[in-house]
Symmetry: none
Subunit: 224 residues, 2 copies
DNA sequence: TCAAAGCTTTCAATAACCTTTCAATTAATA
DNA sequence: TATTAATTGAAAGGTTATTGAAAGCTTTGA
Protein backbone atom coordinates (compact mmCIF):
# COMPACT_ATOMS: atom_id res chain seq x y z
CA UNK A 1 0.00 0.00 0.00
CA UNK A 2 1.69 3.16 -1.24
CA UNK A 3 1.01 6.32 0.68
CA UNK A 4 1.94 9.83 -0.37
CA UNK A 5 2.46 12.09 2.60
CA UNK A 6 2.28 15.78 1.77
CA UNK A 7 3.65 17.52 4.84
CA UNK A 8 6.08 20.36 5.26
CA UNK A 9 6.85 19.89 8.92
CA UNK A 10 9.99 17.84 8.65
CA UNK A 11 9.88 16.39 12.14
CA UNK A 12 6.29 15.28 11.82
CA UNK A 13 6.90 13.92 8.34
CA UNK A 14 9.84 11.86 9.55
CA UNK A 15 7.90 10.55 12.48
CA UNK A 16 4.96 9.53 10.34
CA UNK A 17 7.22 8.01 7.73
CA UNK A 18 8.81 5.91 10.40
CA UNK A 19 5.60 4.86 12.10
CA UNK A 20 3.68 4.06 8.96
CA UNK A 21 6.61 2.21 7.45
CA UNK A 22 6.93 0.14 10.57
CA UNK A 23 3.37 -1.10 10.18
CA UNK A 24 3.89 -2.05 6.60
CA UNK A 25 2.99 0.93 4.46
CA UNK A 26 5.30 2.27 1.80
CA UNK A 27 5.46 5.97 2.35
CA UNK A 28 6.84 8.77 0.18
CA UNK A 29 6.96 12.26 1.60
CA UNK A 30 6.97 15.60 -0.16
CA UNK A 31 6.99 19.00 1.45
CA UNK A 32 5.31 21.17 -1.16
CA UNK A 33 2.22 21.08 -3.32
CA UNK A 34 4.19 21.39 -6.52
CA UNK A 35 6.34 18.42 -5.60
CA UNK A 36 3.19 16.52 -4.74
CA UNK A 37 1.74 17.18 -8.16
CA UNK A 38 4.97 16.13 -9.77
CA UNK A 39 5.33 12.85 -7.96
CA UNK A 40 1.66 11.97 -8.43
CA UNK A 41 2.23 12.15 -12.16
CA UNK A 42 5.14 9.77 -12.20
CA UNK A 43 4.27 7.35 -9.45
CA UNK A 44 1.18 5.44 -8.43
CA UNK A 45 -0.21 5.84 -4.96
CA UNK A 46 -3.08 4.26 -3.12
CA UNK A 47 -3.72 6.96 -0.59
CA UNK A 48 -2.77 10.56 0.18
CA UNK A 49 -2.25 12.20 3.54
CA UNK A 50 -2.43 15.92 3.05
CA UNK A 51 -1.39 18.71 5.37
CA UNK A 52 -3.37 21.86 4.72
CA UNK A 53 -0.67 24.29 5.80
CA UNK A 54 1.74 24.02 2.91
CA UNK A 55 4.26 26.71 2.01
CA UNK A 56 3.38 27.15 -1.65
CA UNK A 57 -0.28 26.42 -2.37
CA UNK A 58 -3.12 26.21 0.09
CA UNK A 59 -3.92 22.59 0.80
CA UNK A 60 -7.61 23.01 0.08
CA UNK A 61 -6.78 24.37 -3.33
CA UNK A 62 -4.50 21.44 -4.01
CA UNK A 63 -7.30 19.14 -2.96
CA UNK A 64 -9.68 20.86 -5.37
CA UNK A 65 -7.09 20.45 -8.10
CA UNK A 66 -6.78 16.74 -7.44
CA UNK A 67 -10.47 16.24 -7.65
CA UNK A 68 -10.92 18.36 -10.75
CA UNK A 69 -8.20 16.28 -12.34
CA UNK A 70 -10.28 13.26 -11.44
CA UNK A 71 -7.68 11.81 -9.18
CA UNK A 72 -9.83 9.35 -7.29
CA UNK A 73 -7.39 8.56 -4.51
CA UNK A 74 -8.63 8.46 -0.96
CA UNK A 75 -7.36 11.55 0.79
CA UNK A 76 -7.00 12.11 4.50
CA UNK A 77 -6.45 15.64 5.66
CA UNK A 78 -4.15 16.26 8.56
CA UNK A 79 -3.89 19.74 9.82
CA UNK A 80 -3.54 22.19 12.65
CA UNK A 81 -6.68 24.07 11.68
CA UNK A 82 -9.21 22.99 14.17
CA UNK A 83 -12.05 25.27 13.34
CA UNK A 84 -15.19 23.64 12.15
CA UNK A 85 -15.44 25.49 8.88
CA UNK A 86 -12.20 24.28 7.42
CA UNK A 87 -13.07 20.79 8.57
CA UNK A 88 -16.34 21.00 6.71
CA UNK A 89 -14.73 22.63 3.72
CA UNK A 90 -12.07 19.97 3.61
CA UNK A 91 -14.53 17.17 3.39
CA UNK A 92 -16.78 19.08 1.07
CA UNK A 93 -13.91 19.66 -1.32
CA UNK A 94 -13.44 15.96 -1.60
CA UNK A 95 -11.40 14.71 1.30
CA UNK A 96 -12.43 11.39 2.77
CA UNK A 97 -11.40 11.99 6.31
CA UNK A 98 -10.02 14.71 8.47
CA UNK A 99 -7.83 14.74 11.56
CA UNK A 100 -6.57 17.68 13.52
CA UNK A 101 -3.17 18.04 15.12
CA UNK A 102 -2.23 17.02 17.65
CA UNK A 103 -3.50 13.59 16.79
CA UNK A 104 -3.01 10.14 18.10
CA UNK A 105 -0.94 7.87 15.89
CA UNK A 106 -3.08 4.90 16.73
CA UNK A 107 -6.17 6.74 15.60
CA UNK A 108 -4.51 7.76 12.37
CA UNK A 109 -3.58 4.16 11.83
CA UNK A 110 -7.10 2.84 12.19
CA UNK A 111 -8.57 5.66 10.15
CA UNK A 112 -6.16 4.79 7.36
CA UNK A 113 -7.24 1.19 7.71
CA UNK A 114 -10.89 2.17 7.42
CA UNK A 115 -10.22 4.20 4.29
CA UNK A 116 -8.26 1.45 2.64
CA UNK A 117 -10.82 -1.13 3.60
CA UNK A 118 -13.57 0.99 2.16
CA UNK A 119 -11.82 2.02 -1.04
CA UNK A 120 -10.04 -1.16 -1.90
CA UNK A 121 -12.79 -3.59 -1.31
CA UNK A 122 -12.37 -5.31 2.00
CA UNK A 123 -15.92 -6.32 1.27
CA UNK A 124 -16.36 -7.01 -2.36
CA UNK A 125 -13.95 -9.70 -3.29
CA UNK A 126 -13.07 -9.69 -6.96
CA UNK A 127 -11.60 -12.73 -8.60
CA UNK A 128 -9.79 -12.12 -11.84
CA UNK A 129 -9.15 -14.91 -14.28
CA UNK A 130 -7.69 -13.62 -17.49
CA UNK A 131 -10.09 -11.07 -18.90
CA UNK A 132 -12.96 -12.25 -16.74
CA UNK A 133 -13.77 -10.65 -13.41
CA UNK A 134 -16.11 -12.10 -10.84
CA UNK A 135 -17.42 -9.81 -8.13
CA UNK A 136 -18.37 -12.29 -5.44
CA UNK A 137 -20.30 -9.74 -3.45
CA UNK A 138 -23.02 -9.38 -6.02
CA UNK A 139 -22.36 -12.31 -8.31
CA UNK A 140 -21.55 -10.12 -11.23
CA UNK A 141 -19.32 -11.29 -14.01
CA UNK A 142 -17.50 -8.85 -16.24
CA UNK A 143 -15.40 -9.47 -19.30
CA UNK A 144 -12.93 -6.74 -20.20
CA UNK A 145 -14.85 -4.59 -17.77
CA UNK A 146 -18.10 -5.03 -19.65
CA UNK A 147 -21.05 -6.80 -18.23
CA UNK A 148 -21.23 -10.30 -19.66
CA UNK A 149 -24.70 -11.14 -20.82
CA UNK A 150 -25.49 -14.45 -19.17
CA UNK A 151 -28.74 -16.00 -18.09
CA UNK A 152 -28.94 -16.82 -14.42
CA UNK A 153 -28.13 -20.50 -14.89
CA UNK A 154 -25.27 -19.73 -17.20
CA UNK A 155 -24.03 -17.26 -14.67
CA UNK A 156 -24.18 -19.87 -11.94
CA UNK A 157 -22.14 -22.31 -13.99
CA UNK A 158 -19.48 -19.77 -14.81
CA UNK A 159 -19.34 -18.52 -11.26
CA UNK A 160 -18.67 -21.94 -9.82
CA UNK A 161 -15.95 -22.51 -12.40
CA UNK A 162 -14.39 -19.11 -11.74
CA UNK A 163 -14.39 -19.73 -8.02
CA UNK A 164 -12.46 -22.94 -8.56
CA UNK A 165 -10.49 -21.75 -11.56
CA UNK A 166 -7.77 -24.17 -12.50
CA UNK A 167 -9.40 -26.95 -10.54
CA UNK A 168 -11.71 -29.65 -11.77
CA UNK A 169 -15.34 -29.15 -10.88
CA UNK A 170 -17.43 -32.28 -11.19
CA UNK A 171 -20.77 -32.32 -12.92
CA UNK A 172 -22.64 -33.25 -9.77
CA UNK A 173 -21.32 -30.14 -8.09
CA UNK A 174 -22.60 -28.00 -10.89
CA UNK A 175 -25.92 -29.83 -10.98
CA UNK A 176 -26.35 -29.18 -7.27
CA UNK A 177 -25.77 -25.53 -7.83
CA UNK A 178 -28.29 -25.34 -10.65
CA UNK A 179 -31.18 -27.37 -9.37
CA UNK A 180 -33.36 -26.61 -6.44
CA UNK A 181 -33.36 -29.28 -3.78
CA UNK A 182 -32.09 -32.00 -6.00
CA UNK A 183 -34.85 -32.03 -8.58
CA UNK A 184 -33.32 -34.01 -11.39
CA UNK A 185 -32.02 -32.30 -14.47
CA UNK A 186 -31.86 -33.95 -17.82
CA UNK A 187 -28.67 -35.94 -18.03
CA UNK A 188 -27.16 -33.58 -20.51
CA UNK A 189 -28.35 -30.33 -18.96
CA UNK A 190 -24.90 -29.47 -17.66
CA UNK A 191 -23.41 -30.13 -21.05
CA UNK A 192 -25.87 -27.76 -22.62
CA UNK A 193 -25.07 -25.03 -20.15
CA UNK A 194 -21.35 -25.49 -20.44
CA UNK A 195 -21.78 -25.27 -24.15
CA UNK A 196 -23.67 -22.01 -23.89
CA UNK A 197 -21.16 -20.50 -21.50
CA UNK A 198 -18.26 -21.57 -23.69
CA UNK A 199 -19.76 -19.78 -26.63
CA UNK A 200 -20.06 -16.60 -24.62
CA UNK A 201 -16.62 -16.52 -23.05
CA UNK A 202 -14.67 -17.63 -26.11
CA UNK A 203 -14.27 -14.06 -27.42
CA UNK A 204 -12.40 -13.29 -24.24
CA UNK A 205 -9.90 -16.11 -24.61
CA UNK A 206 -11.40 -17.98 -21.72
CA UNK A 207 -11.75 -21.68 -22.08
CA UNK A 208 -13.51 -24.44 -20.21
CA UNK A 209 -11.59 -27.66 -20.54
CA UNK A 210 -13.36 -30.99 -20.36
CA UNK A 211 -11.86 -33.57 -18.08
CA UNK A 212 -13.46 -36.74 -19.29
CA UNK A 213 -15.22 -38.69 -16.62
CA UNK A 214 -14.47 -36.06 -14.00
CA UNK A 215 -15.89 -32.71 -14.89
CA UNK A 216 -14.88 -29.31 -16.15
CA UNK A 217 -12.11 -26.88 -15.44
CA UNK A 218 -11.76 -23.22 -16.26
CA UNK A 219 -8.30 -22.69 -17.62
CA UNK A 220 -6.29 -20.31 -15.57
CA UNK A 221 -3.26 -19.49 -17.61
CA UNK A 222 -0.84 -17.64 -15.44
CA UNK A 223 1.11 -16.14 -18.28
CA UNK A 224 0.93 -12.52 -17.22
CA UNK B 1 -30.66 7.30 0.15
CA UNK B 2 -31.92 5.14 3.00
CA UNK B 3 -30.30 5.70 6.36
CA UNK B 4 -30.76 3.54 9.42
CA UNK B 5 -30.28 5.48 12.61
CA UNK B 6 -29.61 3.31 15.63
CA UNK B 7 -30.01 5.63 18.59
CA UNK B 8 -31.78 5.23 21.91
CA UNK B 9 -31.87 8.88 22.93
CA UNK B 10 -35.31 9.78 21.71
CA UNK B 11 -34.74 13.50 21.56
CA UNK B 12 -31.55 13.19 19.58
CA UNK B 13 -33.08 10.57 17.30
CA UNK B 14 -36.04 12.80 16.54
CA UNK B 15 -33.81 15.76 15.88
CA UNK B 16 -31.59 13.82 13.53
CA UNK B 17 -34.56 12.26 11.82
CA UNK B 18 -35.95 15.68 11.18
CA UNK B 19 -32.71 17.26 10.02
CA UNK B 20 -31.66 14.44 7.77
CA UNK B 21 -35.12 14.09 6.30
CA UNK B 22 -35.18 17.77 5.49
CA UNK B 23 -32.07 17.46 3.40
CA UNK B 24 -33.48 14.61 1.44
CA UNK B 25 -32.47 11.43 3.20
CA UNK B 26 -34.96 8.77 4.05
CA UNK B 27 -34.34 7.86 7.65
CA UNK B 28 -35.59 4.99 9.79
CA UNK B 29 -34.79 4.99 13.47
CA UNK B 30 -34.54 2.14 15.91
CA UNK B 31 -33.64 2.35 19.57
CA UNK B 32 -32.14 -1.05 20.24
CA UNK B 33 -29.60 -3.37 18.72
CA UNK B 34 -32.06 -6.20 18.35
CA UNK B 35 -34.49 -3.99 16.47
CA UNK B 36 -31.61 -2.88 14.29
CA UNK B 37 -30.77 -6.45 13.42
CA UNK B 38 -34.38 -7.17 12.68
CA UNK B 39 -34.93 -4.24 10.36
CA UNK B 40 -31.65 -4.78 8.57
CA UNK B 41 -32.87 -8.21 7.66
CA UNK B 42 -36.09 -7.05 6.14
CA UNK B 43 -35.14 -3.73 4.62
CA UNK B 44 -32.24 -2.43 2.59
CA UNK B 45 -30.24 0.55 3.72
CA UNK B 46 -27.45 2.54 2.19
CA UNK B 47 -25.85 3.78 5.37
CA UNK B 48 -25.99 3.22 9.12
CA UNK B 49 -25.52 5.75 11.89
CA UNK B 50 -24.80 3.86 15.08
CA UNK B 51 -24.85 5.06 18.64
CA UNK B 52 -22.52 3.04 20.82
CA UNK B 53 -24.47 3.43 24.04
CA UNK B 54 -27.42 1.18 23.40
CA UNK B 55 -29.55 -0.36 26.13
CA UNK B 56 -29.36 -4.00 25.10
CA UNK B 57 -26.14 -4.86 23.30
CA UNK B 58 -22.95 -2.86 23.27
CA UNK B 59 -22.70 -0.95 20.01
CA UNK B 60 -19.22 -2.22 19.31
CA UNK B 61 -20.44 -5.76 19.57
CA UNK B 62 -23.26 -5.01 17.17
CA UNK B 63 -20.75 -3.50 14.80
CA UNK B 64 -18.63 -6.62 14.97
CA UNK B 65 -21.70 -8.67 14.23
CA UNK B 66 -22.51 -6.61 11.17
CA UNK B 67 -19.05 -7.01 9.81
CA UNK B 68 -18.80 -10.69 10.54
CA UNK B 69 -22.06 -11.10 8.68
CA UNK B 70 -20.36 -9.27 5.84
CA UNK B 71 -22.80 -6.43 5.87
CA UNK B 72 -20.82 -4.01 3.77
CA UNK B 73 -22.78 -0.88 4.60
CA UNK B 74 -20.94 2.29 5.41
CA UNK B 75 -21.26 2.87 9.13
CA UNK B 76 -20.77 6.09 11.00
CA UNK B 77 -20.46 5.86 14.74
CA UNK B 78 -21.97 8.57 16.87
CA UNK B 79 -21.35 8.42 20.55
CA UNK B 80 -20.73 10.15 23.80
CA UNK B 81 -17.62 8.14 24.49
CA UNK B 82 -14.87 10.52 23.77
CA UNK B 83 -12.00 8.47 24.95
CA UNK B 84 -9.51 7.52 22.35
CA UNK B 85 -9.68 3.80 22.88
CA UNK B 86 -13.29 3.36 21.95
CA UNK B 87 -12.76 5.62 18.98
CA UNK B 88 -9.95 3.41 17.81
CA UNK B 89 -11.87 0.27 18.55
CA UNK B 90 -14.88 1.56 16.68
CA UNK B 91 -12.98 2.09 13.52
CA UNK B 92 -10.96 -1.05 13.92
CA UNK B 93 -14.13 -3.07 14.26
CA UNK B 94 -15.22 -1.84 10.90
CA UNK B 95 -16.79 1.59 11.22
CA UNK B 96 -16.02 4.05 8.45
CA UNK B 97 -16.18 7.19 10.47
CA UNK B 98 -16.60 8.34 14.02
CA UNK B 99 -18.08 11.44 15.61
CA UNK B 100 -18.41 12.29 19.27
CA UNK B 101 -21.30 14.04 20.95
CA UNK B 102 -21.87 16.86 21.09
CA UNK B 103 -21.39 17.22 17.41
CA UNK B 104 -22.14 19.81 14.81
CA UNK B 105 -24.99 18.92 12.48
CA UNK B 106 -23.26 20.53 9.56
CA UNK B 107 -20.21 18.40 10.13
CA UNK B 108 -22.31 15.27 10.37
CA UNK B 109 -23.94 16.26 7.13
CA UNK B 110 -20.67 16.63 5.25
CA UNK B 111 -19.21 13.50 6.76
CA UNK B 112 -22.25 11.59 5.58
CA UNK B 113 -21.75 13.13 2.18
CA UNK B 114 -18.12 12.07 2.19
CA UNK B 115 -19.06 8.52 3.05
CA UNK B 116 -21.72 8.36 0.39
CA UNK B 117 -19.40 9.89 -2.13
CA UNK B 118 -16.72 7.38 -1.30
CA UNK B 119 -18.95 4.35 -1.21
CA UNK B 120 -21.25 5.11 -4.06
CA UNK B 121 -19.90 7.92 -6.16
CA UNK B 122 -16.16 7.47 -6.51
CA UNK B 123 -15.08 10.78 -5.09
CA UNK B 124 -17.46 13.48 -6.15
CA UNK B 125 -20.77 14.36 -4.63
CA UNK B 126 -21.98 14.67 -8.16
CA UNK B 127 -22.33 11.33 -9.80
CA UNK B 128 -22.03 11.63 -13.53
CA UNK B 129 -23.18 8.85 -15.74
CA UNK B 130 -23.02 9.87 -19.33
CA UNK B 131 -25.15 12.96 -19.73
CA UNK B 132 -26.98 12.42 -16.46
CA UNK B 133 -25.84 14.05 -13.24
CA UNK B 134 -27.04 13.13 -9.79
CA UNK B 135 -26.23 15.59 -7.05
CA UNK B 136 -26.19 13.43 -3.93
CA UNK B 137 -26.24 16.47 -1.71
CA UNK B 138 -29.70 17.53 -2.81
CA UNK B 139 -30.96 14.52 -4.72
CA UNK B 140 -31.41 16.37 -7.94
CA UNK B 141 -31.05 14.77 -11.29
CA UNK B 142 -29.93 16.75 -14.30
CA UNK B 143 -29.61 15.77 -17.91
CA UNK B 144 -27.27 17.90 -20.00
CA UNK B 145 -27.41 20.40 -17.17
CA UNK B 146 -31.18 20.74 -17.37
CA UNK B 147 -33.54 19.50 -14.73
CA UNK B 148 -35.02 16.22 -15.71
CA UNK B 149 -38.75 16.20 -15.23
CA UNK B 150 -39.41 13.14 -13.10
CA UNK B 151 -42.14 12.30 -10.66
CA UNK B 152 -40.92 11.48 -7.18
CA UNK B 153 -41.17 7.75 -7.68
CA UNK B 154 -39.45 7.93 -11.02
CA UNK B 155 -36.78 10.01 -9.43
CA UNK B 156 -36.29 7.46 -6.67
CA UNK B 157 -35.88 4.69 -9.18
CA UNK B 158 -33.36 6.60 -11.23
CA UNK B 159 -31.46 7.72 -8.16
CA UNK B 160 -30.98 4.22 -6.89
CA UNK B 161 -29.80 3.09 -10.30
CA UNK B 162 -27.44 6.03 -10.64
CA UNK B 163 -25.96 5.36 -7.22
CA UNK B 164 -25.14 1.84 -8.27
CA UNK B 165 -24.47 2.60 -11.90
CA UNK B 166 -22.97 -0.35 -13.66
CA UNK B 167 -24.14 -2.72 -10.98
CA UNK B 168 -27.24 -4.81 -10.88
CA UNK B 169 -29.97 -3.52 -8.59
CA UNK B 170 -32.55 -6.11 -7.77
CA UNK B 171 -36.24 -5.41 -7.96
CA UNK B 172 -36.77 -5.93 -4.26
CA UNK B 173 -34.29 -3.18 -3.54
CA UNK B 174 -36.17 -0.79 -5.76
CA UNK B 175 -39.51 -1.85 -4.35
CA UNK B 176 -38.30 -1.13 -0.82
CA UNK B 177 -37.16 2.29 -1.84
CA UNK B 178 -40.55 3.06 -3.35
CA UNK B 179 -42.89 1.73 -0.74
CA UNK B 180 -43.12 2.77 2.83
CA UNK B 181 -42.72 0.02 5.40
CA UNK B 182 -43.19 -2.82 3.04
CA UNK B 183 -46.71 -2.09 1.80
CA UNK B 184 -47.00 -4.30 -1.20
CA UNK B 185 -46.83 -2.93 -4.68
CA UNK B 186 -48.39 -4.58 -7.66
CA UNK B 187 -46.01 -7.16 -8.97
CA UNK B 188 -45.29 -5.17 -12.06
CA UNK B 189 -45.09 -1.74 -10.46
CA UNK B 190 -41.32 -1.66 -10.76
CA UNK B 191 -41.57 -2.62 -14.39
CA UNK B 192 -43.93 0.24 -15.01
CA UNK B 193 -41.64 2.74 -13.34
CA UNK B 194 -38.58 1.47 -15.08
CA UNK B 195 -40.49 1.81 -18.29
CA UNK B 196 -41.37 5.40 -17.56
CA UNK B 197 -37.86 6.32 -16.53
CA UNK B 198 -36.45 4.65 -19.62
CA UNK B 199 -38.66 6.76 -21.81
CA UNK B 200 -37.43 9.92 -20.14
CA UNK B 201 -33.72 9.20 -20.18
CA UNK B 202 -33.59 7.73 -23.65
CA UNK B 203 -33.09 11.14 -25.32
CA UNK B 204 -29.91 11.44 -23.29
CA UNK B 205 -28.47 8.14 -24.46
CA UNK B 206 -28.90 6.62 -21.04
CA UNK B 207 -30.09 3.09 -20.89
CA UNK B 208 -31.38 0.78 -18.22
CA UNK B 209 -30.47 -2.75 -19.02
CA UNK B 210 -32.58 -5.63 -17.82
CA UNK B 211 -30.76 -8.50 -16.22
CA UNK B 212 -33.37 -11.17 -16.38
CA UNK B 213 -34.04 -12.85 -13.10
CA UNK B 214 -31.83 -10.42 -11.22
CA UNK B 215 -32.84 -6.85 -11.73
CA UNK B 216 -31.84 -3.73 -13.58
CA UNK B 217 -28.61 -1.96 -14.30
CA UNK B 218 -27.92 1.53 -15.50
CA UNK B 219 -25.36 1.29 -18.22
CA UNK B 220 -22.21 3.07 -17.40
CA UNK B 221 -20.21 3.23 -20.56
CA UNK B 222 -16.71 4.25 -19.70
CA UNK B 223 -15.85 5.65 -23.08
CA UNK B 224 -14.75 9.09 -22.05
C1' DT C 1 -13.55 -50.38 -33.67
C1' DC C 2 -17.15 -49.54 -30.75
C1' DA C 3 -19.33 -48.07 -26.68
C1' DA C 4 -19.31 -44.33 -23.57
C1' DA C 5 -18.99 -39.71 -22.81
C1' DG C 6 -19.51 -35.41 -24.37
C1' DC C 7 -21.05 -31.80 -27.99
C1' DT C 8 -24.29 -29.23 -30.61
C1' DT C 9 -28.62 -27.84 -32.48
C1' DT C 10 -33.44 -27.37 -32.44
C1' DC C 11 -37.83 -26.55 -30.43
C1' DA C 12 -41.87 -25.86 -27.54
C1' DA C 13 -43.33 -24.41 -22.97
C1' DT C 14 -42.81 -21.19 -19.73
C1' DA C 15 -41.50 -17.46 -16.87
C1' DA C 16 -39.99 -12.85 -16.89
C1' DC C 17 -40.53 -8.69 -18.59
C1' DC C 18 -42.69 -4.76 -21.54
C1' DT C 19 -46.18 -1.68 -22.87
C1' DT C 20 -50.48 0.46 -22.96
C1' DT C 21 -54.66 1.81 -20.99
C1' DC C 22 -57.57 3.42 -17.45
C1' DA C 23 -59.52 4.87 -13.15
C1' DA C 24 -58.39 6.77 -8.68
C1' DT C 25 -55.90 9.86 -6.22
C1' DT C 26 -53.18 13.82 -5.34
C1' DA C 27 -51.22 18.27 -6.48
C1' DA C 28 -51.26 22.62 -8.99
C1' DT C 29 -53.55 26.63 -10.78
C1' DA C 30 -56.94 29.93 -11.76
C1' DT D 1 -63.10 26.60 -4.31
C1' DA D 2 -63.56 24.73 -8.94
C1' DT D 3 -60.96 23.17 -12.57
C1' DT D 4 -57.16 21.14 -14.56
C1' DA D 5 -53.13 18.56 -14.67
C1' DA D 6 -49.99 15.19 -12.98
C1' DT D 7 -49.07 11.07 -10.54
C1' DT D 8 -49.97 6.64 -9.15
C1' DG D 9 -50.90 1.83 -9.28
C1' DA D 10 -53.82 -1.93 -11.07
C1' DA D 11 -55.02 -4.73 -14.97
C1' DA D 12 -54.48 -7.03 -19.23
C1' DG D 13 -52.42 -8.57 -23.22
C1' DG D 14 -48.13 -8.66 -26.00
C1' DT D 15 -43.16 -9.79 -26.42
C1' DT D 16 -38.90 -11.95 -25.61
C1' DA D 17 -35.35 -14.72 -23.13
C1' DT D 18 -34.65 -18.72 -20.67
C1' DT D 19 -35.12 -23.28 -19.89
C1' DG D 20 -34.80 -28.17 -20.39
C1' DA D 21 -35.86 -32.06 -23.22
C1' DA D 22 -34.87 -34.55 -27.35
C1' DA D 23 -32.20 -36.20 -31.04
C1' DG D 24 -28.34 -36.75 -33.78
C1' DC D 25 -23.36 -35.89 -34.12
C1' DT D 26 -18.37 -36.09 -32.58
C1' DT D 27 -14.64 -37.31 -29.82
C1' DT D 28 -12.19 -40.38 -26.76
C1' DG D 29 -9.97 -44.32 -24.93
C1' DA D 30 -9.95 -49.27 -24.00
Amino acid sequence: MNILLIEDDEVLADGLLHTLSSIGYRVSTVATASLAEYILNIQEFDLVILDLGLPDIDGLRLLRQFRSQKIPLPILILTARDDLNSRIEGIRQGADDYMTKPFDLKELEVRLQALIRRCYGGFSHIIKIGRLHLDTSNHQILADGEFLSLSSRESAVLEILLLQAGKVVCKERIAQRLSYEGEALADNAIEVYVHRVRKKIKPFDANIRTIRGLGYLLENENHD
